[in-house]
């Protein structure tokens, strides 16, 4: 049995795997068998049993998400939709890109199977606009699928039909939020929608819709091919399966690796990322992308499991870590992230739209040495206001505030020193900004 299903086809040189090679490695065999032998209900049960959790960041159990989709006559008249969320824009995150660029058929096979399980007849890949290489390769792969009879009418003689479209995003971080993604796909402003109705019941064009992350969907093929038991056994902690973990920052070997769920952070950082570069000491890290709380060297022995990281006060997010070292200013780092989130606010609700720019303005005052104690208090107050769950229309602003509030918690001495010295003490150091 394979133990690295997601990356099994990837080549050293990063060149794409297209139809011939994908099939050569056993690709679409699972699809053929499932369509022939399994009912949609079987598939859903398998996914539930696998305890797969969404890989986009929230970690919501995929099977449970699917189970809200009305089946049969309950679905009413009209199509159901599956959407692959390939709008990978989380700062520090580049895991889906590897699959999208190098193994597009893995995603497509997973999407066909997921669509079959949900009895969706139309599927979209909502792709980050900047992923131009991936776009070309996905287009090629989709064409190959139509030619080979894996997409279109009556797939492999099963009677099941599926249309798959590639949609290239006009480019907003908020499109990663599933309801904003749906709005964008409908040609509307990419504003998140109020829930209820949940997309599973009323999503794209008002019809039942599932939006899953690319990595989540890639897992489907392997679960349905090898079974839920096998999938569960891949994880070494509390969660099932493997995960594409990554690390960026001043480590010796930044990159992305498929590892069992529950792999300790220390192992990822020290073995796979090769430890800190010489002359740099680890101060902290964002475990799952730019919108997660800082953790510190004290947390290195934690397992990368959703609940473990959650209990430590952060989120596993996308599983791709951003490393902060001792020679970079944590305030500059969160200022940079806050600036990103301020720019990426959709502008719909007040705390996010007008609050995050204020955070940036306050952090700028620290960096330029103008900040006072009052600014520190104001920063804490505003971060609490913007970051409180339910205070805003969607989760962008709370996510944006996670690095800020955790930096205030772990690196408070830095903030105070900026106030005291009237300057940023990292400025004279290497690459402070």
């Amino acid at each position: 049995m394979i133990d690295r299903p997601l990356t099994q086809h990837l080549r050293q040189d990063g060149s794409p795997v297209f139809m011939t090679d994908y099939r050569g490695g056993g690709g679409y065999e699972g699809l053929r068998r499932v369509l022939a032998d399994s009912s949609p209900e079987d598939c859903l049960q398998q996914v539930k049993d696998s305890r797969l959790r969404g890989r986009g960041g929230a970690g919501f159990p995929t099977g449970m998400k699917w189970s809200f989709v009305p089946m049969g006559e309950k679905a009413g008249v009209g199509p159901k939709y599956l959407i692959a969320n390939a709008d990978e824009m989380e700062p520090g995150t580049f895991k889906d890109r590897i699959i999208l660029e190098q193994d597009p058929h893995q995603l497509i096979e997973g999407m066909i199977l997921a669509s079959y399980a949900l009895q969706a007849n139309v599927a979209y890949i909502f792709l980050r606009g900047e992923y131009t290489v991936a776009a070309e390769r996905i287009e090629t792969a989709i064409k190959e699928c139509y030619s080979a009879g894996y997409l279109g009418e009556n797939i492999q003689g099963s009677g099941y039909s599926l249309e798959l479209h590639l949609h290239r995003s006009a480019g907003r971080y908020i499109c990663g939020e599933e309801t904003a993604l749906i709005s964008a796909l409908e040609g509307k402003r990419a504003n998140p929608r109020p829930k209820p109705p949940f997309p599973q019941v009323s999503g794209l064009w008002g019809r039942p819709t599932i939006v899953n992350n690319v990595e989540t969907l890639c897992n489907i093929t392997h679960i349905l091919t090898h079974g839920a038991q096998w999938y569960q056994s891949l994880g070494i902690g509390q969660d099932s399966g493997t995960k594409l973990f990554g690390a960026s920052g001043n480590v010796n070997n930044p990159g992305c690796w498929e590892l069992p769920m529950g792999t300790p952070i220390r192992e990822i950082l020290e073995q796979h990322a090769g430890g800190m570069r010489e002359g740099y000491t680890l101060r902290g890290f964002l475990p799952g992308g730019g919108s997660t709380d800082f953790l510190t060297p004290d947390h290195l022995d934690l397992a990368m499991d959703y609940d473990v990281i959650g209990k430590a006060g952060s989120r596993m997010g996308t599983g791709t870590m951003i490393i902060l070292d001792d020679r970079h200013c944590p305030i500059a780092m969160v200022r940079n992230l806050s600036h990103f989130f301020a720019q990426e606010s959709c502008g719909f609700c007040t705390p996010c739209r007008d609050g995050i720019p204020w955070i940036v303005q306050l952090l700028d005052r620290f960096e330029s040495g103008q900040a006072t104690e009052a600014d520190l208090a104001l920063l804490e107050e505003k971060a609490r206001f913007i970051g409180g769950m339910g205070n805003t229309h969607c989760a962008l602003a709370p996510g944006a505030m996670e690095p800020v509030t955790s930096a205030l918690k772990y690196f408070r001495d830095d903030f105070e020193r900026h106030i005291h010295d009237g300057r940023c003490h990292y400025h004279s150091d290497v690459g402070g900004h």
Binding site: G206, F348, R353, E381
Partner: protein
């Protein structure tokens, strides 16, 4: 029948008991917390929520604290507008967490708001000011730069100042989602989001003016007001009725220095709710026109008027009218019932003409349908509650615009039902729209040309008017009433079958028709359809559209009054010596030759009017009269609702209400019963006694003797009015004497109690802490409900419940004639109405007078893009630009009703058209969204 819907609604409402800050309250279950709180009379600040637009949760200003149970001491912040109340709910508005959260929100909103209140047109009636104060934000902590924007020129009506925007999204939600506009949008994102057009240009929606009241701050303001500015607190206002069409929207015109400064919506939940159309909002300022008649004039032989003072004028009037028999009169559908009634009583029924124009016969049929059709005419909420709309022959957006705005809400009902089945409340605006997508309640238009409702209509089918009637009669027949229609095409038969099926499946069908195709058969067919549908469904409703503010009133006053043709015949026979014309330009009512012949056959012509016009020019004696903004009067709308208008401006002695002139004349004529009517209430009593159909006019509004509970009249001036002491301070130090108003229960005063006023006497809404029009909820029974003091107006006609079909002579099918075109009337929001065209903003919105042709006819006439046509009738020729309407039936030609250059064209007549090469290029005219025609 009216009970059906009301019962349905009442049955749906269950009450819930909730606790707010340790006090128990009963509120409607399923309402959101914000509307429940406001309905209770409590204060909770908000921006993005609007009673007509529902909730989206964008501003986050209405946050409250919700507790899970008695033990929960922490609570959770929830948005008031996004959370439904439920029985046993525990809330706090005053807990520090909620108060601090709301302070944080307003502080964030204000980071980019300029400090320009002193020079902002919204100042003093600004919801943002009110909410900022209410939320406790005073000292500025943000010391960064403010974002700035470039403003746009949005046309003659609306001023744009984007820097004041707080991004509440109300404008685009109103403009796009509610009013169906497409050219105003939210653009950009994050804190650079911009609300405007893709480029500078006039806003296309007929309802753009409501942005002035929808915007909670000074982004969208009334351009005319901005350029001739007065603060709300310095405006003297009065409860009034729009004279722009027969919908009878309630308006609140505001005055300063004798000029009408602006018109605001005056809430009447049964007529216009929260909104007006742009003709109404911007057209009422015709009273400021320099075409106003300022003094009486007497014409000597040299055709030049000499001014007369009132006494001289009255003497001349008496001389002309007392010289024996032969006194005839023409009334006016744009004049008050009081003036029309007095004129008719003065000259006698057999010598009174209603003064209707080309729509005369169709209008009489319309009034007959309203009175005798036996089907209940829909109020605004009933229009919005319909589950099927069939329109016969009305381009509603142009002829009854506020009704069209209501229909844009009607078509949402299917989607609202879908949402309800998913447990989503109707006020969850985004959710409901996402669920509904493009699903709409069926609305079928059988019309003569493209309309502006095409984007929401399930079908817009165009016919010549006779064929609309034929399909209507066929539908009535299919539903079991009236004669069979022979010779229908197979597509028409299929259409009838489809309509029949829709009727069968409906529960609350609404039939709309009226007289704007100038065709009696269309009205008769609609009446028959309504009767047949009403036999199936008791909750069937109708709306019959009449053209002018008092068309229906005049029709009720005397259904058998003379027509212009009949009075023309009397004149030809030499029976008319003196003709008195009341507020009517006959040259707008009939072709020039006909009017010339009429006026040429009378010895003396007396014209009473507000404006100079061709008929007035032809008179020996011209008497200026007060406009709707300077006197009281009663109008009857489409619904048969009598409504009183009151003046915000005091009438000058030289320009009294028309009925004052007539009363003086009555005295001289020894008509003592008229001469004794000293106050308007006396006139109204006399009308009610004299005309049984108008008996209800007495109830339209309280009498002049009404006093509030502290014994005062209703105030026209808000409490902070500076006028009395400041207005003439540059001229005199003495405070001018307060103008008396003996005719009404209103005073030119700041004094008077405001809370319990009857709706008919409420000049403005203003409540402590709520300086803007958002204070309206303080005066409503519940959000969106009736005013606490009762809505204004009285319905004169109650449907019998016994539906009666219309006259059942089925017209012949329309036949194309080689080389000539059948004229079909087209109404334009800007241009078809006489008076609003004198208002500067409306005049700027008017386009030319084009002829509309089908693509096939444009081709057969070999018209190029820059060619026009000459219309040849009676040896006169009119040159016109051409609009191509893809939906116009070939063989017909649409002309603009009421346009000065088209007054000689008659609906239903066939005219020859000749190509007029290189005539002119007409600016693009919007026919319907997405379809632009060019000349």
């Amino acid at each position: 029948m009216a009970d059906v819907i009301i019962t349905l609604t009442l049955e749906g409402i269950e009450m819930a008991t909730i606790t707010i800050d340790d006090t128990l309250y009963e509120v409607a279950d399923g309402a959101n917390i914000l509307e429940a709180v406001l309905s209770l009379g409590l204060d909770l600040p908000y921006f993005c929520w609007h009673p007509a637009l529902g909730s989206v949760g964008s501003c986050r200003q209405c946050a409250v604290l919700q507790f899970q149970n008695e033990e929960d001491e922490r609570g959770r912040i929830v948005m008031g507008c996004m959370t439904a109340v439920s029985d046993g709910m525990l809330l706090s508005l005053s807990n520090d967490k909620a108060v601090d959260f709301r302070a944080d929100v307003i502080e964030s909103l204000m980071t980019n708001h300029p400090h320009d209140c002193p020079v902002c047109a919204e100042g003093g009636e600004c919801h943002l000011q009110d909410m900022t104060v209410m939320s406790g934000h005073r000292n500025r902590r943000y010391d960064g730069l403010k974002n700035t924007h470039v403003n746009q020129d949005l046309g003659p009506l609306i001023n744009h100042e984007m820097n004041r925007c707080i991004a509440c999204y109300r404008c685009t939600r109103y403009y796009r989602d509610y009013a169906g506009g497409t050219d105003l949008a939210a653009m950009g994102s994050h804190d650079h989001v911009y609300f405007g057009r893709h480029e500078d240009g006039t806003l296309e929606s007929e309802f753009a003016g409501n942005l002035v009241e929808v915007c909670p701050t000074g982004v969208f303001t009334d351009k005319a007001l901005v350029n001739d500015y007065t603060r709300k607190w310095d405006l003297q206002s009065a409860p009034s009725i729009c004279v722009g069409c027969a919908v009878g929207c309630n308006i609140a015109p505001g005055e300063r220095y004798g000029r009408l400064k602006r018109i605001h919506n005056r809430y009447n939940h049964e007529v216009n709710g929260y909104f007006l159309c742009d003709r109404g909002r911007f057209g009422g300022s015709f009273v400021n026109s320099d075409k106003r008649l300022l003094s009486a004039g007497w014409k000597l032989d040299d055709d030049v008027f000499s001014p007369l003072n009132s006494e001289q004028a009255l003497a001349q009037l008496q001389t002309l009218c007392l010289s024996g028999d032969g006194l005839y009169a023409i009334g006016s559908p744009r004049a008050s019932l009081e003036s029309n009634w007095m004129l008719r009583t003065l000259v006698g029924r057999d010598k009174f003409c209603s003064g209707f124009g080309a729509e005369d016969a169709a209008l009489r049929a319309t009034v007959s349908a309203i009175v005798e059709g036996g089907v209940h005419t829909a109020t605004l909420p009933e229009v919005e509650a319909a589950d099927l709309v069939i329109i016969l022959g009305e381009d509603v957006t142009q002829t009854a615009p506020r009704l069209a705005l209501a229909l844009r809400q009607t078509v949402r009902n299917v989607g609202l039902e879908q949402a309800a089945t998913m447990g989503v409340q109707y006020w969850q605006d985004t959710a409901v729209r996402n669920i509904a997508q493009n699903t709409r309640t069926p609305l079928i238009e059988l019309v003569t040309a493209s309309t502006r409702l095409a984007d929401i209509a399930s079908d817009t089918v165009t016919f010549a008017p006779a064929d609309i009637a034929r399909v209507g009669f066929a539908l009535a027949h299919a539903l079991g009433a009236g004669p069979e229609v022979d010779g229908l095409s197979s597509t028409d038969i299929a259409l009838v079958a489809r309509l029949q099926a829709l009727v069968d499946n409906a529960e609350r069908p609404l039939i709309i028709s009226g007289c704007s195709s100038h065709n009696v058969s269309v009205v008769a067919a609609a009446q028959s359809v309504a009767a047949a549908v009403a036999q199936k469904h008791a909750s069937t409703r109708v709306v019959y559209v009449a053209p002018e503010a008092n068309s229906v009133g005049l029709g009720l006053l005397d259904p058998n009054a003379l027509s212009l043709e009949e009075i023309g015949a009397a004149a030809r026979n030499g029976e008319i010596k003196t003709l008195v014309v009341l507020e009517n330009d006959l040259y707008r009512r009939a072709p020039k030759a006909q009017v010339d012949a009429l006026l040429g056959s009378v010895a003396n012509l007396v014209v009473l009017d507000t404006m100079e016009h061709l008929t007035a020019e032809a008179a020996q004696l011209v008497l200026p009269v007060a406009s709707y903004a300077e006197c009281e009067g009663t109008l009857v709308n489409n619904e048969g609702r009598a409504q009183r208008f009151y003046p915000p401006i005091t009438a000058s002695e030289d320009r009294p209400p028309a009925w004052h002139w007539l009363r003086s004349l009555a005295g001289a004529m020894k008509h003592s019963s008229l001469a004794e009517l000293t106050q308007i209430d006396d006139v109204i009593d006399a009308i009610a006694t004299d005309v049984p159909l108008l008996a209800g006019v007495i109830d339209a509004s309280p009498k002049a003797s009404y006093r509030d509970r502290v014994g005062l009249k209703a105030a026209r001036q808000p409490h902070r009015y500076s006028g009395r002491t400041a207005m003439y301070a540059n001229k005199t130090l003495h405070e001018p004497k307060t103008q008396a108003d003996d005719d009404s229960a209103l005073a030119y005063s700041m004094e008077g109690e405001s809370q319990s006023l009857p709706g008919a006497l409420r000049s403005f809404v203003w409540d402590p802490g709520w300086n803007s029009n958002q204070s309206l909820h303080k005066f409503q029974d519940e959000i969106g409900g009736s005013l606490k003091g009762g809505s204004s107006g009285a319905r004169l006609i109650n449907a019998t419940g016994h539906p009666v079909s219309g006259r059942s002579d089925v017209p012949d099918a329309f036949e194309r004639r080689q080389g000539s075109w059948c004229l079909t009337p087209q109404y334009r929001l800007y241009g078809s109405d006489e008076m609003s065209a004198y208002a500067t903003p409306v005049a700027e919105m008017m386009t030319g007078a084009p002829i509309t042709l089908s693509p096939a006819d444009v081709e057969s006439l070999a018209l190029g893009a820059e060619d026009g046509v000459s219309i040849v009738i009676d040896e006169l020729s009119v040159d016109c630009a051409v609009i191509i309407d893809p939906l116009l039936p070939a063989g017909t030609a649409g002309f603009v009703v009421g346009h000065p250059e088209m007054l000689n064209l008659r609906a239903g007549s066939y005219v020859a058209l000749e190509k007029k090469q290189d005539f002119m290029r007409v600016p693009e005219v919007i026919v319907t969204d997405g379809v632009r025609a060019h000349g």
